[in-house]
Amino acid sequence: MSFTNEENWMLGAFRALDLTNENGFLCGKILGDLGADVIKVEKPGGDQARNFGPFFKDQPDNEKSLYWFAYNNNKRGITLNLEEKTGRDIFCRLVKTADFVIESFPPGYLEGLGLGYEQLKQINPQVILTSISPFGQTGPYSHYQASDLITMAMCGMMSLAGYPDRPPIRVSVPQSYMWTGMQAAAGTLLAHYYRGSTGKGQHVDVSAQASMLCTLAHAPTFWDVNRVIPTREGPIMSGRSVTGAKMRTIYECKDGYINFIVYGGPAGRITNKALTEWMNEEDMATDYLKNKDWSTFDIATVTQEDIDQIESPAAKFFKTKTKKEFFKEAIKRRMLGYPVATAEEIFEDPQLTAREYWQKVEHPELGTEITYPGGFCKFSDASCGIRRRAPLIGEHNEEIFEELGFNNEDLRIMKQSGII
């Protein structure tokens, strides 16, 4: 199929007000990637997450956070003090022009300011309000505080990650913020689609804890179906065979680690056969591997003894390969398996370059351009990607307040009184 080169932004006619902290950044970014006019509304002085590292050239500065750059591009930025009446009045004028409002304040905070869903609906009956919080707008934990670590614990993910003899672990880079933002974008768009056919807005309530349940895959069902509690097992996995056989997932190679798992199904059988052939070419295939009939290999009933017979020579073999060698052969031989890649290696991957994934974005304030991950999908008839870098603090105050009909004198007074 052909992909359009002309810019065509599916959400180009829609505006979102983004009042979120790190728990919701990705939601607004996704709407922006699809073309929405996203206005980041920060408190005067800027959002707290502008202090998240890493920083541009390692210079801690609230205008140089790479974390901020990554998840607030495609947004314009204004500052507004919602705790002052004038600030709230301006916000209400903005809400009249908006299709979406996204927020991640503690549940009840906006109601307290007279800006809850019921009030926003009075101003703009079609508005969609998306509220993001660690546990949800109501319920016994709705007022609990969380950071990524707490959400990773409460969603169950950590209980499945780590070594059996050490504490459960999280991913070292926050993941729950991304999941929550993504689920919020999905909920927001579903509400938007419904509005398109009925004219009605609604309130979307997103829980960070619930946002990650899908990542547990089928792990919870082991309890539901068999009253078994899967737990962390280090670099091995179980839950593939009814015999309880465990498979290694990570192997040492010459210069790091690779990810290879003895799999079943058609793709696994092809892989096992291809690996045996590759090992045989280098005289490293054992008789067991050579004599095995891979076409009938059944992972769901495989025993630990079989697994050991396959894994132990494979482990020796992988130690003779570099990550690059393994990657190249895995692609060529159509084997399941990939290197455990670092950021450096991801940038070397020819696939991403061939698909023009990386996108250069100008940062005139830093006198440079920065390369970003581009659009999350390719659409045949629409654009998806970055149109503008993340905003500086209050960068678009004048532009946006002028759009609303304020003049220079109004702006000066607002600045002086700490509204913006």
């Binding site: 199929m1 699809l34 590292g53 890493p54 998840y71 016994p140 934990y141 609990y144 950071s147 670590l149 409460m154 950590m158 499945l160 990650a161 070594y163 050490r166 504490p167 459960p168 672990i169 880079v173 993504m182 689920q183 999905a186 909920g187 768009l189 509400a191 938007h192 398109g196 609604q202 309530d205 997103v206 829980s207 349940l213 990542t215 895959a217 792990a219 919870p220 069902t221 082991f222 309890w223 539901d224 509690i229 737990t231 670099p235 839950g239 009814v242 997932t249 680690y257 990810n259 079943g264 009933t301 455990v340 670092t342 950021a343 991801i346 991403l352 698909r355 991950p373 999350f376 659409f379």
Partner: protein, 405 residues
């Protein structure tokens, strides 16, 4: 009852496992009519080789893994390799608004079901092809699953301890990122179609979606030349920041302290024990440079509480703490219960099973989970005769020709 979000939208789903069916499940949860196309020759891999199975006995209709990804769908079986089958599959697609597929690129084309062919039949079709690497480029045709792609995309390198082997996250982690971007793309495309009349093809590379989730690490490498690596549970600007052992077997509570003010509160809750008086613990840099010692002291204190007690106690003074929930805990978690995350339905072969609700609640048009995951081919007769309008004779002929099978 309000109209459903996807009322009147029809979806045909080809492929299997998580990445495609996850998108269809969410659409079905919100009212789309979703038909799963499988065959007895090639059932979904989650049916054939993914436990848990009811009574630990494998069977096509007994897998919890298949169940949790497929509630509220119809299931039909078309033997796509049989002669005449692709015409029948095309009729299913002509019925649909959306096609979701997650085969290895090229497979749908080989079956006569590529996008170019399908738009001839259905000009405003929306089709999403979700795969590991994308539909184009030198690695497009490499078959793969999320459990390996998660490593190519950097997540594995970032999980574990710096002094030990990295850890693969449970399940096909990155598949679900694909599911999220899939539902987002399809919904945006449906909205666009309603306004413009135009359908389109969506090329969803799970790899490219996944990298969005580690974007700061990628920028850090390009700009600062730093290759981020795994650091256990530690955090560069918080301490203590870890999980601590509690009363009971393998029970843990996560605690994250982000400022000296929060630290002072924690010290107060702990009853200001002697070790906390050491000035080396009173500032963040001090706690960061004595993290191992800090962990031992904290662990000694936490070990005399249950994880739940500790969470409640710390949360009551505004500190961030949470139980490391295990898979059993999730079914009893009071907050997840409050959100009706688990929906128990009766399945003909599995008995009662808890299906999973979406992470977000829509105030006017809630998700409705009211039909269990289908048995293989369960809706052949209903779908072909009632929804596609085939006569009894036509239907029987498809059975004879082994097209349905």
């Amino acid at each position: 009852m309000e109209k459903r979000v996807f009322e009147g939208i029809k979806v045909a789903e080809f492929g299997g496992f998580a990445a495609g069916p996850g998108v269809g499940k969410m659409m079905a949860d919100f009212g789309a009519e979703v038909v799963r196309v499988e065959s007895f020759a090639r059932p979904d891999g989650f049916r054939t080789h993914y436990p848990p199975y009811t009574d630990n006995e494998p069977g096509l209709n007994r897998s919890g893994c298949f169940a949790i990804h497929n509630n509220n769908k119809y299931d039909i079986t078309i033997n796509l390799k049989a002669s005449g089958a692709s015409e029948i599959a095309q009729k299913v697609i002509a019925w649909a608004d959306v096609v979701i597929e997650n085969f290895t690129p090229g497979t749908m084309e080989k079956l006569g079901l590529g996008y170019e062919a399908l738009v001839e039949i259905k000009p405003d079709l929306i089709m999403v092809g979700s795969c590991n690497q994308g539909q184009t480029g030198p690695h497009a045709n490499h078959p793969g699953f999320g459990s390996q792609l998660t490593s190519l995309s950097g997540f594995t390198h970032l999980t574990g301890y710096p002094d030990d082997s990295p850890i693969l996250l449970y399940g096909p982690y990155i598949d679900y990122i694909g599911v999220g971007y899939g539902i987002i793309s399809v919904t945006a495309a449906l909205d666009y179609r309603r306004r413009t009349g135009k359908g389109q093809y969506i090329d969803l590379a799970q790899y490219e979606g996944g990298l969005q989730f580690i974007a700061p690490v990628l920028l850090d490498y390009l700009i600062n030349n730093r290759v981020a690596t795994r650091m256990g549970n530690r955090h560069s600007t918080a301490a203590p920041h870890d999980v601590y052992p509690c009363l009971g077997e393998d029970r843990w509570c996560a605690i994250g302290i982000f400022s000296d003010r929060e630290w002072e509160k924690l010290v107060e809750v702990m009853g200001s024990p002697r070790w906390t008086h050491d000035p080396k613990f009173s500032t963040l840099p001090g706690r960061k440079s004595n993290e191992d010692e800090l962990y031992s002291h904290m662990a000694e204190w936490t070990a005399s509480f249950t994880a739940e007690q500790l969470m409640e106690r710390l949360q009551s003074v505004g500190l961030r703490a949470g139980v490391v929930n295990n898979m059993k805990d999730l079914y009893n978690d009071p907050q997840l219960k409050h959100r009706h995350i688990w929906c128990k339905l009766e399945h003909p072969e599995m008995g009662s099973f808890n299906y999973e609700s979406p992470a977000f609640q829509l105030s006017e048009t809630p998700a409705v989970i009211d039909r269990p995951s289908p048995c293989i081919g369960e809706h052949n007769y209903y779908f072909f005769t009632n929804l596609l309008g085939f006569s009894e004779d036509e239907y029987n002929k498809l059975l004879e020709q082994n097209i349905i099978g």
